[in-house]
Symmetry: C2
Subunit: 367 residues, 2 copies
Amino acid sequence: MAVEALKWVGDVDGYLELVDQRRLPGELVKLQCRGIEQLHEAIRTLAVRGAPAIGVSAAYGLVLAAQKPGGRDSLEHALKVLGECGRYLASSRPTAVNLFWALERVRRCAEEFVAAQPNSGLRDLRRAILTEAHAVYQEDVEMCRRIGENGQHFIREGSGVLTHCNAGALATAGQGTALSVMFEAKKSGRNFTVYADETRPLLQGARLTAWELKEAGIDVVLVCDSMAGWLMKQGKVNAVITGADRIAANGDTANKIGTYSLSILAKKHSVPFYVAAPSSTFDLSITSGADIPIEQRDADEVTSFAGARIAPDDIDVCNPAFDVTEARDISAIITERGVIENPDARSIAQHLAPETSSQKQPKGVTD
Amino acid sequence: MAVEALKWVGDVDGYLELVDQRRLPGELVKLQCRGIEQLHEAIRTLAVRGAPAIGVSAAYGLVLAAQKPGGRDSLEHALKVLGECGRYLASSRPTAVNLFWALERVRRCAEEFVAAQPNSGLRDLRRAILTEAHAVYQEDVEMCRRIGENGQHFIREGSGVLTHCNAGALATAGQGTALSVMFEAKKSGRNFTVYADETRPLLQGARLTAWELKEAGIDVVLVCDSMAGWLMKQGKVNAVITGADRIAANGDTANKIGTYSLSILAKKHSVPFYVAAPSSTFDLSITSGADIPIEQRDADEVTSFAGARIAPDDIDVCNPAFDVTEARDISAIITERGVIENPDARSIAQHLAPETSSQKQPKGVTD
């Protein structure tokens, strides 16, 4: 049902295929990424976007990086190249923690492989890296499905659900995070209407979310970002569900600019506000949202559209890509592990504890 | 300094010249309106927009309507035509009360002229109508200046001011309402930064407000509508000032969609929220905002831009042109008569009482 945003084609000498999201919904064009410069550009210009999809793409990026060293290079040298390429790829988007997480995971896998099998060949190392990247991909697919299952009961029959930006199949390797909740609610036989914020400046809601939901046969109504509060006031919104780009240890959540305002408006109108994101989105090294770096993007994104100038020349622009929603304004965070109601540092730490203890449903966490 | 959005050119046989605001900021093109069908279309498609500018244009529209009857028609017949044309022009935008107010004022003037001078010629009637339309125009210019003077002290040195849509010279015959406050604060020698919401879907903020303020030498930063809350959270906004399209007897205010959300966000962040509008914007026949009709506009405004499709085909769209801000979330309403702090039915009634009593500064009204 859901579109495949990205997949690896071929074996260790293969390439990464990405849906070019800059061209949706007009055209469904696929990019063949065969080098890390091309991937860096694709991430930077949002041809591939969404924290989980960026993470999986970056994992495959290190497979591309490992294609670079010549056959006679040492494993040591290959590890060095991987480290450099990882740092380079990490610079493509400064906020998405999944990017750093996936790069670090594959890099460590390579390191451990070399430590365990120091006499193996370069091709063996490349295979180990590809296997790990495939694992990141498969886990993402599974993660999406579980998030959907864990959160779908929050969508009631006949209700209105508001979402912002795109946290759908296009944002992940699987069927998305926030949208996975909707796909699973639909699968459970419930009917509901999704209000999709168009999400200026890059219109991921209009271009991607509206398209994905329509393709999936879910009722969707496109609105401008400024209309969300008025919809809530009129009682048309019963839940807000968004994705996340980074979540601090206390539950403060960085997501697409505009999410913060929605959280305030939702609270004012007693509408529950849910964040759906994989547990890899948590960055426990960051105590609170105040420490999450906010990417500032080019003025052009705001002042031009489809080649047309929509503002005076040389106008000053403020264009933060993200904002931070406070944990106290989040009703629950839905992960592949379960649901954290009223998230705070304690309940999040419990939720993220090793699976065995998390499966015991610790107090404060609904798994 | 401020641009002339509209003016009458020539005598009773003249025409109405409008800046075609659909083409700003790319081109400064002037439309020559020589008939009411053309004016209806110009109002409907926002070539001319902003409640006061629509009102003044409609007043001149009745001058155009009075050009229609032949020289041998009776005054009675001319009045009938004026009534029909007035109803037709009133249908161009259902929310702007100034439109109805200006049409009614000019129609009544024509009626009174015919009652007082039943034996005069058609050309005399036309002259009386033009004189009244000119009076509406001149009062608008004066009204704008006074609103600016009455509100300018709300903008403090070094502060940040957020505005939404365009309540500037382009929205009036004079120098605007919300923007007049800024022009007068600037004239008083104060420096400040205006954050201009781009104002989707039609981008009046990006195209018109940013352009007007930049032309006037005022620091302006263009932002997407979804960024306003985050700017407030970061302490960058010390006041919100918007215009109004209709104000109910209790102070509930209809203005461009998104204004309601701003009022909630402003209250949350303890930022004062001001409405700047002429007293003709009050509609005392409407008890509260719940009774203000909200214009729904074409889906195309949301799904297309500059000829480019930005959403899937046949997507459902919700596109209300306005929302209603509650009086309790408005710190003050600034009119040409003075300032109504904490507006409610009583203070508004006092403010709108005949000039003589209003000049005595009744309790609750700061003139």
